[in-house]
Symmetry: C2
């Protein structure tokens, strides 16, 4: 751009370095703001109450200087979700690793594109190598590989798309005119992205046959075999079984060995949605919880959850990477080609994609295997503390004994449970309020690296204060609390 | 985490600020590295030749310190695509705005989730407000709205999914059993993401009926009406017309007013893929090129291209925002709800999504309307320079006269054209080498803010040197170069 152009001096870092100092100055300002924000996170609510904003967001005619913009941002940043507060326990959304923030800044500055090797020579290769290693970590074997996607919903979408194309050969010709209705199976507690995928893929959201769960929130094997048989009798075409390793509401893990055996017998693609629970693979102590996942045809695993890589960091891992070429690829002849690597945009539901691999690689390297294991084990240790507190309070009902580090509990009514949520939030403890089995529950996801057993005790102190205040007595229905927990952890 | 845990001191910025100085130190290091990298971009090739890497990418057992990791990254960063080099002209992939890099760093640190209002109280609202303003900027009216998606392929996917659900009511029941085959129309030059969307959506990639283009690369209206009539005669079910405003290879703009009229008459959803060309709306001088886009039911527009917002920044803009609730939404009862806003993850192909709105908002504010217009007008000015150079060289064939700022040209053979690409790359000019109408072309996308008319003259100087070296004579077939350009710009 010539110098009379109405773009501000700081619009871009110039490739000849001629405005380096001006850029360095605003970057310093932004960095200070971020450090201030992050290092006072315990003084802001985990979920600030939205105070509204009268600011006009319209695009101005003239440039607004970056320092002014950073100042204008302040109220928005202060009212953002604040997962770094030790009382943030509500969702599978932790604070981001330092390495993530650095990785995202690098990725943004370089602005490479994982669409093709030409547009990301080093990062396409890094992603391919790291994802292959991850896939092998899950035991998927020598032909395995994977790719990053912008969120777990997309990973599940791509997995089921591949399963559908592999089973039905409909890549070019589509589903209209099929006489047998293609269906898939997932537990009633599976994530809604499975239904969304079925809707998108032209199967229809009703093509996901929900299988009943047991009292631990795990898919019932007998109900599954019955559902498959029933579908076949009705002339439907089962093609895929989705197991969940860490359900959204209770963190339950479906019985993977039994389900993989059924999938094999029935000729179904076996997909494991381990978006959340997959992290457990890093803990030598707890990896056995994922036994059977090594039989999967595909696995969704999201480092953006338990491993604290900044959003988005989600992956699809495949037992046979080459299937993507055969059953998914849409060639894009406007891109250069490499000898050693396929253009990733041709085999992904996405095209243009940033170098999300940077924050994943940096985080894995900076945490190391032992750091990843420590995060997992920290979550499970917090869960044991949580369970110990719950056992002492028979007025509290529990949804399921925990398979991982997620606990749902409630008081005698939806109203009281919702009131307790607000009471706790006023004290800087955020638990979410999902609907499960037709009731509201308080959900704690014990994934926050700053939460300590002491915080858990304080949380239960607050719950006790609420119960005293409302004169809540032990619930006679909850007498089986001991039994509820007997198989836990 | 307790202090004996094997996570490094710098794993996270602690919410009590107790490790602020350690984090500030590594952040400074990373910032210096980024500034060094960016301010010497003109000394690195626009597309470095991949030198291989013997580094082991495996996950280490123990933590690697961040300073060491930043050093290990050096060769990967040095071999990344380098769109900041003034000679980078090959793709729609520009350098990222300063505001983008800052926005992405903020988004990563806060790690909010656009999945639900509860997980991004301020950013869900900011996105909704800014996207509504953008939709109205395109003339889509009072009921319009939009959402960001992680890339234009996803925006096109969601647009066609909505069109399909709206036309065929297949959201729950799917496509199997439909007796009429649903089809859509797009020009033969439309982006491959349209075929990918059709494949994903269960329509089959063959459901996209390619319509012939004229010598300017624009969809032929007569061919379209004929194709629609023919499809109806064959008992197929046309439901959508996709126009392109800025095709991938030649930047051509389909005749939007005529196409919108046909879509209305035929009862088709009218989607405009303005991923690239949409930016022109910001230039009072050139916005007329998009005339007719205000008739669209949906528009894909990617600020990540001409407006230089870091990847990903892609949007889907809808004339009637409420259609998403009726024809797309998959409810997710595990999230909190807000009174004033729908949870965006329920109406998007994505679930978890970062606050990409930050970098878009910061960039639009920092550039202002006039800065955005300046970027557009800079690109078109460069294009006129480019055309002036081409006119003087009858040995060069041109694919189409430019509608925007993209030019494809070639020498007498594919081989010579490919050799010229390498010759130019050795001199730090990168043009890509797409296949178009069965031949290879050199493609220049004149979107780089650092490219000047002087660079264009240098580029043609290099082309002249190549032609002298190879003794290339004027091509007698190219005698109509004057005619080719007569209607340009």
């Amino acid at each position: 751009m010539n110098s009379s152009a109405p773009l501000p001096e700081t619009a871009f870092l110039r490739p000849d370095g001629s405005n380096r100092e001006a850029i360095a100055a605003v970057a310093q300002l932004a960095l200070e703001q971020l450090l201030n924000l992050g290092s006072q996170a315990d003084q802001r609510s985990p979920v600030p109450t939205w105070q509204g904003s009268e600011r006009h967001v319209g695009i101005p005619a003239q440039s607004v200087p970056l320092p002014d913009l950073l100042q204008q941002l302040e109220p928005l940043l202060a009212q953002a979700m604040n997962p770094a507060n030790p009382g943030y326990l509500g969702h599978m959304d932790p604070v981001a690793s330092t390495a993530s923030v650095i990785g995202d800044a690098i990725a943004a500055l370089l602005n490479n594109n994982l669409l093709s090797v030409e547009m990301s020579p080093s990062f396409s290769r890094l992603e391919t190598a790291v994802l292959r290693e991850l896939a092998q970590r899950f035991g998927l074997g020598d032909e395995a590989g994977g790719l990053l996607l912008s969120g777990g919903s997309l990973a599940n979408l791509q997995a089921i798309a591949l399963a559908r194309n592999w089973a039905l050969q409909v890549q070019e010709t589509g589903l209209a005119g099929l006489t047998q209705r293609p269906i898939l199976f997932a537990s009633e507690a599976a994530h809604t992205s499975i239904q969304k995928a079925a809707m998108l893929l032209g199967l229809g959201s009703q093509a996901v046959i929900p299988i009943a769960t047991d009292r631990r929130g795990r898919m019932q094997v007998a109900a599954l075999t019955e559902a498959i048989a029933s579908a076949r009798r009705q002339g439907q075409r089962p093609f895929c079984l989705v197991a969940t390793a860490g359900t959204t509401v209770t963190g339950s893990i479906d019985p993977l060995p039994e389900l993989s055996a059924i999938a094999r017998t029935e000729g179904l693609w076996f997909h494991v949605d381990a978006s959340y629970g997959g992290a457990v693979i890093f803990s030598p102590r707890y990896a056995h919880k994922l036994q059977g996942i090594e039989q999967a045809n595909s696995v969704t695993f999201n480092p953006q959850k338990w491993l604290c890589v900044a959003k988005t960091s989600a992956s699809l891992l495949l037992r046979d990477w080459s299937l993507l070429t055969e059953h998914f690829r849409i060639a894009a002849p406007y891109m250069g080609e490499a000898d050693d690597l396929i253009n990733l945009g041709e085999v992904s539901v996405q095209g243009t994609r940033p170098a999300d691999i940077l924050k994943l690689w940096l985080t894995l390297q900076h945490f190391g295997d032992r750091g990843c294991a420590a995060l997992v084990e920290h979550g499970l240790r917090l869960c044991r503390c949580f369970v110990a507190e719950l056992r002492q309070r028979p007025q509290i009902q529990v949804a399921t004994p925990p398979d991982l580090n997620i606990l749902c509990f409630r008081l005698a009514s939806d109203r009281l449970t919702a009131e307790l949520q607000q009471f706790l939030l006023d004290r800087y403890f955020f638990l979410s309020l999902p609907r499960f089995r037709d009731r509201l529950w308080l959900k704690a996801v014990l994934v926050n690296p700053f939460t300590t057993p002491e915080h858990i005790r304080q949380l239960f102190g607050a719950i006790d204060a609420f119960c005293r205040d409302r004169q809540i007595q032990p619930d006679p229905q909850s007498q089986d609390n001991e039994i509820t927990y007997s198989q836990s952890l």
